[in-house]
């Protein structure tokens, strides 16, 4: 049994079905990528998993228990964390102040490890809105990892990063996920990055799962090539 799973997940906005009958299973230590063209339902998917949006039907399970109707706050307190696709959550505080505050509220014994893995030591005492954009994204990732969550849902952590920052960000995700034995879901636009980083990949198209499997399988899948990757990939 997987630690975090969803099945039959359907989200409708009025008459439009943004997500239809999607299933996913996350395992500890495994980075699970979700890719798909614009409008494939990636954001809706992560919203439904994290509790920000109630699905029209379907079930989300944590350790086999139905948590579909639990709030974002409840999920965070019970080990399901998500990153925010927005920078510097508490922009006017220093990096240290906000990380320590969140660590205190979420029982994180080893904040230093997160800080040093993400290379945030040097900016600890700077005000968050004044540090480089890429570093702000790392603070975001740090926030999501505080409190030893067992499941981390990452919503485009590389959005807006330049190529080498993006590579570094995904390496951090990979390292922290393995070291902390976290089940990670990674929604990302950077397709090559996802193929390089993830153990399992799910491709969404028009709100449904087109394929799920190891990177090599997914890359070879003819449906995926036709719908998304194109013949050159």
């Amino acid at each position: 049994m997987s630690i975090f799973s969803a099945s039959g997940l359907t989200v409708r906005y009025g008459a439009l079905a943004a997500l239809t009958d999607v299933a996913i299973e996350l395992e500890p230590g495994v980075v699970h990528g979700v890719i798909g063209p614009n409008g494939a339902g990636k954001s809706t998917f992560i919203d439904a998993l994290s509790g920000r949006r109630r699905p029209s039907s379907g079930v989300v399970r944590l350790d086999g228990d139905d948590i579909t109707r639990r709030s974002v706050r409840w999920r965070r307190a019970h080990g399901v964390s998500r990153s925010f696709q927005r920078t510097s959550v508490f922009g006017s505080m220093t990096v240290r102040t906000q990380l320590e505050m969140i660590a205190r509220r979420n029982d994180e014994p080893d904040l230093d490890e997160i800080v040093s893995t993400l290379g945030l030591d040097e900016v600890q005492d700077q005000v968050c809105s004044e540090i480089a954009y890429g570093t702000q994204r790392s603070v975001d990732l740090a926030i999501a990892l505080i409190g030893r969550p067992r499941v981390v849902l990452l919503d485009e952590p590389c959005a807006g990063l330049v190529a080498d920052e993006s590579v570094r960000m995904l390496e951090h995700v990979r390292t922290l996920c393995t070291e902390r034995d976290v089940a990670a879901l990674l929604v990302e636009h950077d397709v090559e990055g996802v193929f390089r980083t993830c153990d399992v990949i799910t491709v969404l198209d028009l709100g449904s799962v087109l394929a799920t499997g190891a990177p090599a399988e997914v890359r070879a899948n003819p449906d995926v090539v036709r719908a998304y990757l194109g013949s050159a990939a």
Binding site: R73, S92, M101
Partner: protein
């Protein structure tokens, strides 16, 4: 301009500072423009009138903020918390209605007549400051308000609850997800903000005259102060409150007919020059 006028400006600025920092805190946390804030100030002044009549001014100075804090708890529990997911305009209208109700209640209890409160014995005379004889009570206002502002800043900066208040003002949703009890923080802030309004009312009672419209006319200036300071910024509200108090008083001396429009001109100028206010977050 002489020192007395400057001190008058500082006294008005002190009151504006106390009142607008409470309003800014409530706005930061609940996203509500509390139009009832002027009514809280007015209620504070009228309660101070009765309490200083029955007991003493000093008793009023302690009791009125306590009573107003309780009213703040009611505001939070009955209106702000249950309605937090409604649109801001709806909540704003509700607080506006509450202000009108409070005004009527004051008329029913105390009447429409203008009332006045005597300064407490011991602070009735004048004191020589910077070469002028200045009413001692107004100096008292300045001292108390500045001390209060200092305490407020320290509380926000150096205490854990203050940290949570700052976090929740920046992003209440995320703060909640991160394990901060935002309802508790909000309860503290709204009752504290109401207590500050009560204290401002009590301080003002011997300085201004009491009439049932005093709250709403002052509210407009306070709202301008909060917008100039940068919506939701407590420090900005303090600076803008003091600045506007001084400018307004000094311009009254120079040209009373121009002084009336000074707050509005200041509002327009600041918003053209810095749309986010003096210390505001960038408008997103």
């Amino acid at each position: 301009m002489n020192a007395a006028q400057l001190l008058n400006g500082i006294a008005l600025g002190s009151l504006l500072m106390v009142l607008s920092s409470g309003l800014a805190m409530i706005y930061g946390l609940r996203g509500v423009t509390n139009f009832a804030h002027g009514a809280l100030y007015m209620s504070g002044a009228y309660l101070a009138y009765t309490l200083s009549d029955r007991l003493s001014f000093w008793a009023a100075l302690v009791l009125v903020p306590v009573i107003l804090a309780v009213i703040g708890v009611v505001l939070e529990m009955v209106f702000f918390r249950p309605l937090q997911h409604r649109s801001h305009i709806e909540l704003g209208l509700i607080t506006f209605g509450l202000a009108l109700i409070a005004e009527r209640l004051v008329v029913l209890i105390w009447g429409e007549k203008t009332l006045s409160v005597d300064p407490p014995p011991g602070l009735t005379g004048t004191t020589s400051v910077l070469g002028v004889d200045y009413p001692t009570y107004r100096l008292g206002i300045i001292v108390v308000a500045l001390a209060l502002a200092a305490i407020l800043v320290m509380w926000l900066r150096y205490t854990r609850t203050g940290l949570y208040v700052r976090a929740a003002s920046q992003d209440i949703e995320t703060a909640g997800i991160m394990g901060i009890d935002v309802n508790r923080v909000s309860l503290i802030v709204v009752s504290f903000g109401a207590a500050l309004a009560g204290l401002a009312g009590t301080l003002a009672a011997p300085y201004v005259s009491l009439d049932p419209n005093m709250g709403n006319s002052f509210l407009i200036i306070v709202l301008i102060v909060v917008v100039i300071g940068g919506i939701g910024s407590i420090g900005g509200a303090m600076v803008a409150g003091m600045g506007l108090g001084i400018i307004q008083t000094v311009s009254t001396v120079w040209s009373p007919s121009v002084a009336v429009v000074v707050p509005y001109v200041a509002l327009v100028v600041v918003l053209l020059w810095r749309p986010q206010g003096l210390a505001g977050k960038r408008v997103s």
